[in-house]
């Protein structure tokens, strides 16, 4: 394996162990980059060491000790030389990766900072890559990272896997961060921007990692299933011009069957053994969509029932919106429209868009056109705007 591949695969878990050993995010990062630079310079001629990961940990650890000595000398504190750092283990410790995730996803940090820090430290993305993926200027993102690392240090956010009594709450935050990363990639992966699509891969990778570390947690399984089932359809969600293709119009032969199968079997286990969590239920819904051989064969009554379960776990207007659409498809458009009328989601374009779609299916073209116009007033995403404009043209009476 070359250095680049090693970086891609192991950066996060090596850094995780190093942070525990040196007790400082920045110092650990700097030293690890130095160690990788040495590896880049030496390995091509000398050949890689027998155990590259532990070589990197111990090299970086020595660099960190050097740095601490230099700082102590610079400050004129000869007497206060840092205590020798704990000796390095042979291998990166899996528990450290979990510590790192829980620290990066600590609820005392803002969600933006949690995402950025997780991608930077656990996934090893560069500041520039993350800034481009989130469409923010590099200095903004860099400052977000600096501030987050500063807070970890100053407020003393612990580098620990939370204790049992707070694990559920903290795991929920961590899973939320992973799903946000996935959605950042998924909702905006229109067109040729591969970097945004990479966020989906990183999120799935994180999900696999957390599941490997906490195999008994059913919601981790549910989340991984959900991401895989969505991701299986990623390539078919837009056409070659970047225009949106709705679920019912997607080319099902191009869906990634391996991901669907993996997701579906994860869902089964996530749903068994107690009341299901919100990710498991959403994954079950995604599995029903992904496994339907055609749009017509979609099991809408079952999907509507699952949305009712989801609404009891997470009673939000967005879930209600999805439930209304599922009921419209299962029981009749009128029932769905009646439910939509009760939902209050000011400023959210998908509410009038859903109403417009149901009215279109019912053949009520004038009302449908009015609802599409309402949605167009609120939409911000360019691909979605084009889609809504096209639908509006379809339901509008032909001009003479």
């Amino acid at each position: 394996m070359n250095v680049g591949e090693l970086y891609k695969r192991d950066y996060g878990r090596i850094l995780a162990s190093l942070i525990r050993l040196v007790g400082d995010f920045d110092l650990a990062e700097e030293s690890l980059h130095e160690a990788f630079a040495i590896a880049l310079a030496e390995w091509p001629s000398s050949g890689p060491p027998r155990n590259p990961a532990s070589w990197l940990i111990s090299t970086a650890r020595f660099k960190a000790i050097d740095q601490l000595r230099r700082r102590a000398m610079g400050a004129g504190k000869r007497a206060e030389l840092p205590e020798p750092i704990a000796p390095a283990e042979e291998e990166p410790v899996p528990l450290d990766s979990l510590r790192l995730i829980f620290t990066c996803c600590h609820p005392a940090l803002s969600p933006e900072a949690q995402m950025a820090l997780t991608l930077r430290t656990v996934c090893g993305l560069t500041t520039e890559e993350i800034a481009r993926a989130f469409l923010v200027p590099v200095p903004t993102l860099a400052q977000r990272l600096v501030r987050a690392k500063g807070k970890i240090k100053i407020a003393k956010i612990p580098y620990e896997v939370p204790s049992d009594d707070s694990l559920a709450e903290r795991l929920d935050t961590a899973l939320g961060v992973i799903y946000l990363v996935f959605n950042e990639g998924y909702s905006a992966s229109f067109g040729p921007d591969l970097l945004r699509a990479q966020l989906c891969d990183e999120a799935i990778q994180l999900g696999r990692m957390v599941l490997g570390l906490l195999p008994a947690e059913r919601e981790v399984r549910g989340l991984l299933a959900l991401m895989l089932l969505h991701d299986a359809r990623r390539a078919t969600r837009t056409d070659e011009h970047g225009a949106i293709v709705l679920l019912e119009d997607q080319d099902r032969s191009r869906w990634d069957q391996a991901k669907i199968q993996e997701g579906a079997s994860l869902v089964e286990r996530a749903l068994s053994g107690g009341p299901p969590g919100k990710y498991a239920v959403q994954a079950a819904i995604a599995a029903l969509h992904a496994q339907a051989r055609s749009a017509k064969e979609t099991d809408w009554p079952q999907i509507a029932a699952l949305y009712c379960v989801l609404a009891s776990i997470e009673p939000t207007p967005i879930v209600e919106l999805n439930r209304a659409v599922a009921i419209a498809m299962a029981d009749g458009i009128e029932q769905g429209l009646a439910l939509l009328a009760k939902i209050h989601l000011p400023g959210y374009h998908l509410l009038p868009a859903a109403r417009a779609d149901l009215l279109r299916r019912a053949g009520r073209r004038a009302e449908s056109a009015a609802a599409y116009r309402e949605a167009l007033d609120l939409v911000t995403n360019e691909a979605e705007r084009r889609f809504l404009e096209q639908r509006l043209a379809e339901v509008s009476p032909l001009r003479r």
């Binding site: 600590h106 005392a108 407020a155 003393k156 956010i157 612990p158 620990e160 939370p162």
Partner: protein, 124 residues
């Protein structure tokens, strides 16, 4: 590691509260304070007089002026504080979550600058 726990609550809410309910809250505060004294986390703490008693001092046009009132008028007011000693933020947060005012107001947790760093760390 020391943390200052700042308790923000609505003075109006407390002013309008029936006496029995108010007494119950004070009793809860008493129990809470006793529990953190017992566990060894307590360093200091007190309820504050209402913001109507506050005076703010600041420099204006090169002159130090004294003005009546709090630093900022807000819906919730700083009503009390605890100074606690904890091993890390998680421990401090677990204590903060037990403060009765969490239910009606907000509780802010701020780490103190350790004494040895105080000189080198400049105020913002």
């Amino acid at each position: 590691m020391q943390y200052l726990v700042l308790i923000y609550d609505s003075e109006k809410l407390y002013g309008d509260m029936p006496k029995a309910q108010l007494e119950k809250i004070y009793e809860e505060y008493g129990h809470f304070t006793q529990s953190i004294i017992k566990s060894g986390h307590f360093r200091a703490g007190s309820q504050l007089q209402p913001v109507s008693s506050a005076t703010t001092v600041r420099e204006k046009n090169g002159k130090v002026v004294t003005v009546d009132g709090p630093f900022a008028e807000t819906k919730e007011q700083l009503g009390g504080y605890y100074l606690i000693e904890c091993k890390d933020l998680d421990e401090a947060l677990s204590i903060a979550k037990r403060i009765p005012s969490v239910r009606t107001g907000s509780v802010e947790v701020r780490p103190l600058v350790p004494p040895s760093n105080a000189a080198s760390s400049s105020p913002r």
